[in-house]
């Protein structure tokens, strides 16, 4: 259990590092950090927290920064997030779900 907590901590650190690296403009390096975090999660059987899972594209692993690598649009209470690098899209229905509250927090 202690080992899993340590892995989870490292995953969060790496994703935050990737986010900051992407902000400074080095997207390739940021992608490598996210890939490493993803591998830790797979091999260590640790779940990435929802807040951090939504910080990167699930197809190309680029950290999503609004206006730089991500576009957000609302269409009739549906939030559409698009990755500007690979055009991956994800839709979130925001009509009074528990999940939508979590989305608003992140």
């Amino acid at each position: 259990m202690r080992r899993k907590n340590q892995i989870k901590k490292r995953i969060i650190e790496l994703i935050e590092l990737a986010y900051n690296t992407a902000k400074s403009g080095n997207l390739e390096l940021a992608r490598e950090y996210v890939k490493l975090a993803e591998m830790y999660s797979r091999k260590g059987k640790v779940e990435i927290p929802l807040k951090y899972k939504r910080m990167f594209c699930r197809k190309c692993y680029t950290p999503l920064i609004i206006g730089v690598t991500e576009r957000r649009r609302m269409r009739s209470k549906i939030l559409i997030r698009t990755c500007l690098i690979c055009n991956w899209q994800r839709r979130y229905v925001l009509s009074g779900n528990k999940r939508s509250d979590k989305e608003n927090e992140s």
């Binding site: 080992r3 340590q6 892995i7 490292r10 790496l14 590092l17 390096l29 490598e32 950090y33 490493l36 591998m39 830790y40 797979r42 091999k43 260590g44």
Partner: protein, 79 residues
């Protein structure tokens, strides 16, 4: 348990290429066989083989000297 050495300080104590000996920097990326290091001196990046040297690594306040061949492994296999 140390998974990877990203963001830790490194000093090269010995290397097969004498030009790189006693250089210091920060590890930016770790792969199975190499370190990508950002040198302090000129904001320059170099990629070095782990197996070809002896390093002093400072990670989260702890400093230790280690032969590079002992680090040759994929980071997620240390779990």
């Amino acid at each position: 348990m140390i998974l990877d050495y990203i963001n830790s300080r490194i000093k090269i104590l010995w290397y097969t290429d004498p030009f790189l000996i006693s250089r210091e920097g920060v590890i930016v990326l770790e792969t199975e066989k190499t370190f990508l290091i950002k040198l302090e001196e000129k904001n320059k990046f170099i990629r070095i083989f782990k197996a070809h040297g002896i390093f002093e690594i400072t990670f989260k306040g702890k400093s230790f000297i280690i032969a590079g061949y002992k680090l040759v492994r994929k980071p997620w296999k240390r779990i």
